[in-house]
């Protein structure tokens, strides 16, 4: 923080700030020098904060009416939908909010991948982000179990059963997770407890994530280190606040469309059938945002190795800062990486698609190829690319290509316009 010398103007302010420097913090947050060339892909951090708060507020309200009991959960959700004032609105915001949260987090992650935001000195921000993402998946999965519909029940059965793949202690762990010998009331009550807890853990990690961000400052589309504050930066308030606000409003329009006009399109119809341990649904599918990992899980014939592959697919991201050997951050100046980046995006979308399809025939084959490519990208392509790739010349500052008429200008502009 460069603003330790901040002094509040009023006596009371000074007295308070000497004892608890909240005003210094507020001053730091408003003055925080931000690169002025951040594009709209950088607005998703703010959008994600909005998503988290929305989920917490709607979730608290739902918890006042929801009953975590195997015999009453489904009915209590219908009670919320029918009899609680605006209960339908709160629940649809919460349910679709989970999807919006993941939509935003995927954009946020892929933005980081494109502009190399995970690289030194931002590794800790990135790793905190991966932990947040893992917790989000846990929270979303457990939240999906709470309505106690068919997909809730069978999704919980399938996912918790994955732990039985662990040698020797697997079965014991599953029984321990369930609190019994099948998914039942004890499973529901503990999932509810954890679903309530995790968002607050995420909130704490988000604070650390932002704190860690404020040490080196934001990366930017050019991916170079900049002097702060300087001609290259603008204060966070009002410049970034209004820009984030504008992007958030656009995001909210999409959000509102789902909530008001297609509230169930992202869910599965079977979850409006009350959980029945005697009837297995024809296809058990997770929510859309978990599908790529579900595809990886099913593409490996061995159960244990499938679980290992699925977990590795996420955990491999945590070591990404060391797998990517390139010194250049932004893909704008990495012509080869940029192509592989888009292939990875397509690969993940394909994994998501086949994750929703039955694991057989052509779908299974595609899933296997896509899974192999996913690991190939991180384990082989990225490390090698850092040494082999001929990168484009990087400008010295953000303003330089604009003011100096540098030879990089045309290249930088061109590259930016193709991705924006």
């Amino acid at each position: 923080m460069s603003d330790h010398d901040y002094r509040p103007k009023s006596k009371v302010g000074q007295w308070f700030n000497d004892r608890l420097p909240l005003l210094t913090l507020a001053n730091h947050l408003t003055d925080y020098p931000t690169p002025k060339n951040l594009n709209y892909w950088w607005t998703f951090g703010g959008i994600l904060t909005f998503c988290l708060i929305t989920q917490i507020v709607t979730g608290l309200t739902l918890a006042m009416h929801y009953i975590a009991h195997a015999d009453m959960a489904f009915e209590s959700v219908e009670h919320i939908m029918r009899d609680v004032n605006y209960g339908w609105l709160i629940r649809y915001i919460h349910a679709n909010g989970a999807s919006m949260f993941f939509l935003a987090v995927y954009i946020h992650i892929f933005r980081s991948l494109f502009y190399g935001s995970y690289k030194s000195p931002r590794e800790i921000i990135w790793i905190l982000g991966i932990i947040i993402y893992l917790l989000m998946m846990a929270a979303a999965f457990m939240g999906y179990v709470l309505p106690w519909g068919q997909m809730s029940f069978w999704g919980a059965t399938v996912i918790t059963n994955l732990f039985s793949a662990i040698p020797l202690v697997g079965e014991g762990i599953v029984t321990w997770l369930w609190g019994g010998y099948s998914v039942d009331n004890p499973t529901l009550t503990r999932f509810f407890t954890l679903h309530y807890l995790i968002p607050f853990l995420i909130l704490g990690l988000v604070v650390l994530h932002i704190w860690a961000l404020h040490v080196p400052g934001n990366n930017n589309p050019v991916g170079i280190d900049i002097k702060k504050p300087s001609k290259d930066t603008v204060p966070f308030h009002p410049y970034i606040v209004i820009k984030d606000g504008f992007a958030l409003l656009m995001f909210m329009i999409v959000f509102a469309f789902f909530v008001f006009y297609a509230p169930n399109i992202l869910g599965h119809a079977d979850n409006y059938i009350e959980a029945n341990p005697m009837v297995t649904p024809a296809h058990i599918v997770p929510e859309w945002y978990l599908l790529p990992f579900y595809a990886i899980l099913r593409s490996v014939p061995d159960k244990l190795l499938g679980v290992v592959a699925m977990l590795s697919a996420i955990l491999i991201l945590a070591v990404l800062p060391w797998l990517d050997t390139s010194k250049i951050r932004s893909a704008v100046f990495r012509p080869l990486y940029k192509q592989f980046y888009w292939i990875l995006v397509a690969d993940v979308l394909i994994l998501g698609y086949v994750g929703a399809m039955p694991a057989e025939g052509l779908y299974l084959l595609i899933a296997r190829v896509a899974t192999a490519y996913y690991f190939l990208h991180f384990l082989v392509i990225l490390p090698v690319l850092g040494f082999k790739e001929k990168t484009l010349p990087v400008p010295l500052s953000i303003t330089e290509p604009v003011l100096g008429g540098s030879p990089n200008l045309a290249a930088a502009r061109n590259k930016e316009s193709t991705i924006e």
């Binding site: 219908e78 469309f257 006009y261 399109i265 119809a269 859309w288």
Partner: protein, 259 residues
């Protein structure tokens, strides 16, 4: 900016096509124009009232609707029977209440606050009476089936003679929209089965449409409120977005950088 829109639309298309693909594995559903679809979609009041009649005279003999109460029939956004009518409807059902001060259960005429009376006391009784098949509760049935209203509407009209290569057990019927084409429910509707009070001709198609509309309402009783609020919310957001956009332009004009 443009790319942001592009990305959103691509993702929405992918998600939408994904979720539709579950529904699309069946025969093409029959189409009809539903008044409740679209930005301003509302229920057709008369159709809801007729639909309730079909439900109560036909479906209710096997299918429960355990999340609905008689008061719902008089609430705004639904069939909107008058309170007097809804009370009369409720009173026409015998409700088991109690125990009274003697510890005995007793029956009394239904009240607005009562839940819809169930045709069977429990699932086992329902199965016993229907050859082992449980007639599903209809409260949220429309949302619990992939094809939604189109599926229910088609299914009700989808009964046919089984093709010669399909053999049916006793009590199993052929329906071209049913998953696997075999259904335990006999064709529930036939021409003129109910006599509509408003003189509408009770064709199978008409009754299917009315009762499906009723089921849509029972699954989404606040659909009209949702559509109305949604329109206001989105218009509000769009106006605010435009205002914020120009404020942003103004503020950023102080630095020589494009937003």
């Amino acid at each position: 900016m443009k790319s942001l829109f592009k990305l959103f639309s691509i993702i929405i298309i992918i998600i939408a096509s994904n979720s539709y693909s579950f529904a699309a594995e069946k025969a093409e559903y029959l189409k009809t124009d539903w008044s409740f679809k679209g930005l301003f979609g509302k229920f057709d009041r008369a159709s809801l009232q007729r639909g309730y009649q079909v439900y109560t005279e036909v479906c209710a003999s096997c299918h429960s609707m355990k999340y609905l109460s008689y008061r719902n029939l008089a609430e705004p956004g639904g069939p909107e029977f008058s309170e007097v009518q809804a009370k009369a409807i409720a009173a026409s059902f015998e409700v088991t209440d109690g125990p009274n001060s003697d510890g005995e259960m007793f029956t009394r005429p239904g009240k607005l606050s009562d839940k819809f009376v169930m045709p069977y006391n429990n699932v086992k009784a329902a199965q016993a009476a229907n050859g082992g098949a449980y007639p599903p509760d209809m409260s949220v049935l429309v949302k619990a089936r992939g094809g939604g209203v189109d599926y229910i509407y088609s299914l009700l009209q989808g009964y046919e003679e089984a093709p010669s290569n399909v053999s049916l057990d006793d009590g199993v019927y052929y329906n071209k929209y049913m998953y696997g084409n075999k259904i335990r429910m006999a064709a529930p509707l036939s021409e003129g089965l109910v006599e509509y009070g408003d003189g509408t001709n009770a064709t199978v198609e008409q009754m299917s449409k009315d009762v499906t509309t009723f089921l849509m309402w029972s699954a989404e009783p606040h659909l009209e409120a949702r559509h109305q609020m949604g329109f206001k919310a989105i218009v509000y957001l769009i106006i605010l977005t435009i205002l914020v956009y120009f404020s942003m332009k103004k503020i950023w004009s102080r630095v020589e950088s494009e937003v």
